[in-house]
Amino acid sequence: MSEPASGVIHDIGYRHYDGPRLGSWYATRALFVYSLRAAFGFGRTARAKIMPFGLATVMLLPAVVSIAMMALLKERGMPYPGFFVYMQAILSIFVASQSPALVAPDLRHRVLPLYLSRPVGVPQYAGAKLAAMTLAVFLVIGVPLTLVYAGELLIDLEGPPQTGEYLAALTTGLCLALLLSAFGLTIASLTPRRGLGVASVIAVYLLLLAVSGVLVGTFESIGSGTAAAWSYLINPFFLLDAVRVALFGGESASGQYPDGPGPVLLTAALVALGVAALFLRYRKAAAK
């Protein structure tokens, strides 16, 4: 037997990749775009699109009615600041039904190690999911607001356009989207089952809604105004409305909120807590 040339056994003729390496940032951006598409059911079956698009359409209805009122009756319909408070049921269903769509399949099919063996780390993975969900929720809030604002500019009502109110609603809407997405994704990522994820997220929202409602009713009936004011803030939608009142002024969409920087600090703490919980959850999920 003759001696084989060294290295022949290993060189079986595959070509090496010598194109550009796009790196971690590119992979994270791709994951972000993919997750954003998943939030609206793009790239999935038609049945997966019914829920997000149905809810987004319902969110547009008040805007359409509002534009019609401005055009035909020359009066303002829906106020910008109260928009997400009135539509809170629809928004929370959107967060509940779509958060598992972003996180459940990867956990269920155990592909997280495949992602993490690429230049995408846990912070990038969780960050991309969080950013995608936040943008999705923000679009659902912001597009109707923007439509109404555009309508207001075109129809030329009496008085100056409510640019301040519009921007205040958009800013708090973005904070709300971040808060809802952080907690929605964290809760949904606790289970690989989509159905249970939907139920968990909506259960937490309904729990907060009902606890807040019962406590406000009780404290108001016994005349404890401060306690009632703080009880509103148990509901995340009223919390962000209180933030808007504290930062930008204007009318409250419901009752009296606590004065001072309390709501703002509480929101900042909750957002930090939600984001930290999501990152910790994924660090643990990645270790499995």
Partner: protein, 238 residues
């Protein structure tokens, strides 16, 4: 009824994280009741408010959703339902068994805590506790049947159930009076009103409508579940 199927279902529902959700809501209810009692506002109005907002409006649909879909939807989701359906057990019997398990869970996690919470607040004053416990019982049974059926019809059962409970019973029901006639929550209030003599309980639906409606919905949903399981096809993911 099939004892083995029932046992497996109990283990599947109670042995996983699902039980945390089933326990969380009744615990929150009892916690709220205790808190209200300690704050010293445990009057009849508060009790009825807690019962209507928390028990009927929040806890019942959610527990019905979690238990009703939980007894069958996960099995369909991961395809293990095929092992159950390939056994020589009549499909309607499987449906009835699953329904019985879900209904018993709702009795335990919804009706009993409801009675306890009302009892903590105002004892048995003007029949609020037994009234709403009975209302929670029948509505819980109806919800578990409806959501069981939803669980075998679609993979998006939970999301659709949430839309029904929140949008139809919550939003539409509060704006369109006619929609209230077709709402399990309103039927539950009608039943509760029969035992409760409190003036704070108001109902829109008559007993003559609510009772047949509850029976028809419950029996109909279980029968349809059995029919659906008889010709069941497993479809692909999403």
């Amino acid at each position: 009824m099939n004892a083995t199927v029932a046992g497996i279902t109990y283990r599947a529902v109670l042995g996983r994280r699902r039980i945390l959700l089933l326990v969380l809501l009744p615990l929150a209810l009892l916690g709220l009741a205790l808190l209200l009692r300690l704050v010293g506002s445990a009057d009849e109005r508060t009790a009825v408010l807690l019962m209507q907002k928390f028990v009927i409006g929040t806890m019942l649909p959610l527990l019905g959703l979690i238990a009703g879909t939980g007894v069958i939807a996960p099995e369909i989701d991961d395809g293990t339902v095929i092992h159950l359906l390939s056994k020589p057990i009549s499909r309607p019997v499987i449906a009835v068994t699953k329904f019985a398990v879900a209904a018993s869970l709702l009795v335990l996690f919804a009706a009993v805590p409801t009675y306890l919470a009302a009892w903590i607040l105002i004892r048995t004053e003007s029949g609020v506790a037994p009234g709403f416990a009975l209302g929670a019982l029948v509505a819980g049974i109806a919800y578990s049947a409806v959501f069981l059926f939803l669980g075998v019809v679609t993979k998006h059962a939970v999301a659709i159930g949430v839309v029904y409970a929140l949008v139809w019973e919550g939003l539409v029901g509060s704006l369109v009076p006619g929609a209230r006639k077709f709402s399990i929550q309103q039927w539950a209030q009608t039943i509760a009103d029969q035992l409760a003599t409190s003036p704070f309980v108001e109902t829109d639906v008559t007993l003559g409508f609510a009772v047949p409606a509850l029976v028809i919905v419950t029996v109909g949903a279980v029968l349809l579940t059995g029919r659906r399981l008889r010709a069941f096809s497993l479809t692909g993911e999403d």
